[in-house]
Symmetry: C2
Subunit: 331 residues, 2 copies
């Protein structure tokens, strides 16, 4: 299996990406193809006694930045690591791509260079929200800010295949809305509700944002704007609360002792709510596997990202999306 | 000043509403006009030695329920306390109305019976989010799920007048978006950005949901869907975290002691984040003052709601909205 690894775009430097790849290679066998500055990468690999492992480097002289306009960067920065890797991904011998770079550019590139699955009109972004009962896949989280019934229905199809690839046999679904009763919220969500009610045994109706952390539903379908607001407000509220607690625990001796005694539990809660630790997610809708990892991913997060990508490939998630689309078409 | 008080629709019973009105009367002089079951209210008032105070009761035989379809209920339940009060509000001698009943019905009624301010196309719902630096007005939080540039611009005008009525002399504004850079998110938000950048000195650009609790901006403008997702996910995350902390603090003796020592701080944080304690908010856009209080409001919350309504009237907030619209029209 050949995995294309974009070595530019990390906030922590390319070394974390190489280190993460080495860690992944200890658990799974694959051929990493590194896209980045060849000289630097070679030098680093030599120091790390990487010579025993089969790898390739594609030298890239340019880099797509987070400040670049996504579509323009994809069209013009032809020597960037991201564009080169996306182009090579089209070659049948290459199986998947992971990048820590600009989300917008990667999305634009997956659409413009790699192409979309037949029957899917937009690529979309997912995230996994940790919760008290189970993890929940959220789709979309920001790629598609203007949505309607059809697009959300496509998200449902893709999320279904993705959930199955994560080992969830009969995934359950809810639609994010501003109330749980049928009839609430925009019409297109109610039309989607009726459709899923008929077609999907695992459909459980609407969910409000306040219940997302306490649900055991596997997938929440939403537009990219609301999905983005949702995951970032969970992140922000958790961070704010933890900060307030920390301050409170330093306010006087009594609470200082209290804070120390509770410290382990606090760290546990903080880790539980850190959705970034899942670190990577597929760009669903791309014709070939493309994973986006967080720019701040350390080597462990990169390792997990690569292993998730490999599992996504092994479970033929894209083939499964195509199969579901085929079945729906004939219904 | 005559304040119309809808006595039905409380989750805690009409007594809390009467009690709250009595508390408000201790701080401000006004004539309460109670809409509800006359016999019950009279009986309760007699027990409470209310006879010294000038009040009126309008007997109502019907009640609008949260499960009713808002528009249908407003059209058909002509003997409900909410419909009767909304009709009477049109009478110039009456100054404002407060209700704990169905938000949807109150919104529909404010539009269909009371009417909208000239130049405002939709009534909208606000909430105040507590934060670590200051309170923030959020508009809209669920009344208008489908929005565009014009509607959000109206929200801005109404929020400006409302902020001033709350004593904020030169309010600052941000637009909720999925990124802070210009160009991010939907086009209509970027058009609004450009407009506010030109017209409003207090405009500070986009804000992401993760920063809402830590901003010192006075007003956040957003569509009703995202606004609703935002406030409910802050509520849900805070509740979940507090629950986890409580569980953690009971898990073993060490953390039990820790939890006890930190208890006061935890309660303080919980109260700080409880946006429901602000309890009431105006339906902005209505031609006359209509306040919605939470169905679970206790007497203190009802008291605060009435006092906020009176301040809204005294500061002529609706007149100020009309003035701003006039100025914008002539620009």
């Amino acid at each position: 299996m050949r995995i294309l690894i974009d070595c530019l775009g990390s906030d922590l430097g390319f070394e974390e990406i190489i280190k993460g790849s080495l860690l992944a290679l200890k658990e799974k066998s694959f051929t990493p193809v590194f896209y980045g500055k060849e000289e630097e990468i070679e030098k680093y690999l030599k120091n790390d006694n990487f010579s025993k492992i089969d790898y390739e480097i594609v030298d890239c002289t340019d880099e797509i930045l987070n400040t670049d306009s996504p579509t323009i960067a994809i069209r013009r920065k032809k020597d960037s690591s991201m564009v080169k890797a996306l182009k090579d991904l089209k070659n049948p011998e290459n199986d998947g791509l992971i990048s820590l770079g600009s989300t917008g550019a990667l999305l634009a590139g997956a659409t413009l260079i790699v192409g979309r699955i037949d029957g899917i009109s937009r690529a979309s972004l997912t995230s996994i929200i940790p919760g008290t009962k189970s993890k929940t896949i959220i789709l979309d989280i920001g790629a598609n800010v203007e949505v309607g019934e059809e697009l959300l229905y496509e998200f449902y199809i893709m999320a279904k295949a993705y959930a199955i690839s994560l080992g969830i046999e009969n995934p359950t679904f809810q639609i994010l809305n501003i109330g749980t009763e049928k009839g609430k919220g925009p019409d297109y969500l109610n039309r989607l509700y009726e459709r899923l009610e008929k077609e999907e045994d695992g459909f459980r109706g609407f969910i409000e944002s306040k219940d997302v952390l306490n649900t055991d539903t596997d997938v929440i379908i939403t537009g990219g704007f609301a999905g983005n607001v949702l995951i970032k407000s969970i992140e922000g509220t958790a961070k704010t609360l933890m900060g307030l607690l920390k301050n409170a625990a330093y306010s006087n001796l009594k609470s200082k002792i209290g804070g120390l005694l509770l410290k382990d539990s606090l760290i546990e809660i903080k880790n539980m709510l850190d959705y970034k630790k899942y670190g990577s997610a597929p760009l669903l809708g791309s014709k070939k596997p493309v994973f986006k990892a967080h720019g701040r991913s350390d080597s462990t997060a990169v390792k997990n990202g690569i292993l998730n990508l490999i599992s996504f490939i092994e479970k033929d998630t894209i083939g499964n999306i195509e199969k579901i689309i085929e079945v729906k078409k004939n219904e």
